[in-house]
């Protein structure tokens, strides 16, 4: 542990990885809370897979993968939202449709571009160590924007999560708030791709929230608890990953899973004692 702290100050790449991981640990469960209570947990997974299509397209056209991931993810998020709200297709089905088609397109594009599988693997499972300074700055900007968004739209988002009709009758511009939130989810998914990877991003958005829910507290407290669980999972995962040379994304998500099991047991104990 001491060595890790020493190295954090010594190596820039490690400091960047640590900072990026911390930012994602705050951002992912804050967004994830609203996804979980609105029964849209799978949206995070879908948008992460869609981001992969953006990465594949960027590699094919020789542009920055981050730009491609953000652009495609945002477009897909708006598409998912429009189709979902039209009521013509069930939400789960819309999410599966976008996930499957974008993943298939990504596979075909990668095959056409002749890029090695190694490049793609870092997006599938994440690679904290390769976070660049520009990516860290983008993440920090996104986190500040998200914080402002949540502060301004907390009440409408809460109402939307409780009941869309109640939100409308309370004067909330449901379409606008919904689109902004889905856009924020898409940006978070695209920005987190490099850190936890496509396959693990959904877990980071959802598992800490599930852990926090075990304590049966109010909405605000549950959000704060889920951020606490997420940061703890990151710190444990980051340390284990560094100490034992394990893949960072997988180790962080496994830590979140272990914390969920602990939260399940402690939450049950709380309910018995109450």
């Amino acid at each position: 542990m001491y060595m890790l702290i020493q190295d954090l100050f010594q190596y820039d790449f490690l400091a960047r990885a640590f900072s990026a991981g911390l930012v994602i640990s705050v951002l992912a469960p804050a967004v994830g809370m609203f996804l979980v209570v609105r029964r849209l947990s799978f949206l995070a997974d879908t948008l992460a897979h869609v981001s992969l299509l953006g990465v594949a397209g960027s590699i094919f056209f020789g542009i920055s993968p981050a730009v491609g991931a953000v652009a495609v993810s945002l477009l897909a998020a708006l598409g998912v939202d429009r189709l979902r709200l039209s009521g013509r297709v069930m939400t789960e089905a819309v999410l599966v449709l976008f996930l499957s088609v974008s993943l298939a397109a990504a596979v075909v594009i990668v095959s056409l571009s002749g890029v090695s599988n190694v490049n793609l693997m870092s997006y599938l499972f994440g690679s904290l160590a390769t976070v660049s300074e520009a990516e860290l700055l983008f993440l920090a900007g996104l986190a500040i924007a998200a914080l402002l968004f949540f502060f301004r739209f907390y009440r409408p988002l809460f109402l939307l999560s409780l009941d869309e009709d109640l939100a409308k009758v309370s004067g909330v511009r449901v379409g606008l708030v919904n689109t902004a939130f889905v856009g924020l989810t898409a940006l978070t998914a695209a920005a987190s791709l490099q850190i936890v990877g496509v396959l693990l991003l959904g877990a980071l958005m959802v598992i800490p929230v599930l852990s926090a829910l075990q304590f049966g507290r109010g909405f605000r407290t549950t959000i704060l608890l889920s951020i606490g669980f997420s940061i703890t999972a990151f710190l444990i995962g980051f340390f284990l990953s560094y100490a034992f040379d394990l893949p960072s994304g997988g180790t962080i998500v496994l830590s979140a899973g272990a914390l969920f099991v602990a939260a399940l047991a402690i939450g049950k104990l709380f309910r018995i004692l109450r």
Partner: protein, 237 residues
């Protein structure tokens, strides 16, 4: 108190691919009235309610709230709405009673600052007190009984001090003793000047409690309020 709270003029509405539910629905409710809406299953009670709240749009005709066409209506703080299904489905929602009641006040506001003693905490406390749920403020909504949860959503609707309170089958999951207290509570709100529109399948109670009753039959409202009408309504269901 003679102005109109609600006005439907020649409203036509049909769900996609279905026969029109309303072909020419016209009625009005005065400010300060206590109106019950009854009707059989599928008569369109909830649809009429959703139209008057702007949750559905008529294909023809006009709906006005306090003299303003619903398309241009923006004073949503003056409308309190207690939907039917929220009372039944939100057992797992991770929120305290206080958080839910707060959500009814100035919905466009951002994060709650009540804990810092901001001005708009007072109506929240008052709504909790009026609905007699102050002692439940920090309990989770899912831990409460049907009657208690119903009061939470009424308090939520009251927190913006509305002029019109609209309730859709509010006593669906409530025991008889709680129902009695609930209707006494609604009457006291009406006496204080609030317009109340109550949709219910419970004909006896609605006829007993509401000042006037509309029965929705074959896409049209019929005004009823006599004992003979009660008997007739029973026979027709």
């Amino acid at each position: 108190m003679n102005s109109l709270a609600i006005q439907f003029k020649g409203v036509v509405f049909a769900y996609e691919g279905a026969e029109p539910l309303f072909k020419d629905l016209s009625f009005s409710i005065k400010d300060g009235d206590y109106v019950g809406i009854v009707g059989g299953n599928g008569a369109g009670k909830t649809t009429a309610l959703r139209l008057l709240l702007g949750l559905l749009r008529p294909s023809e005709g006009e709906i006005s709230l306090f003299g303003t066409p619903i398309r241009e209506f923006s004073d949503w703080a003056s409308i309190g709405y207690v939907p039917q299904y929220v009372l039944q489905r939100e057992r797992e929602f991770p929120a305290t009673v206080r958080e839910i009641v707060e959500s009814g006040h100035m919905a466009k506001k951002g994060a709650s600052l009540c804990q810092f003693g901001m001005e708009y905490c007072q109506p929240v406390d008052e709504a909790l007190r009026i609905a007699e749920i102050g002692h439940l403020a920090h309990r989770r909504i899912g831990e409460l009984s049907g009657g208690e949860r119903q009061r939470v959503f009424i308090a939520r609707a009251l927190v913006s001090r509305p002029r019109l309170l609209v309730l859709d089958e509010p006593t669906a999951s409530v025991d008889a003793a709680s129902q009695e207290r609930f209707f006494a509570f609604l009457s006291s709100l009406n006496r204080s000047g609030m317009t109340i529109v109550l949709v219910s399948h419970d004909l006896d109670t609605v006829f007993e409690e509401a000042g006037s009753v509309f029965s929705l039959e074959k896409g049209a409202f019929h005004s009823k309020k006599t004992d003979a009408d009660v008997a007739a309504a029973h026979l027709s269901h």
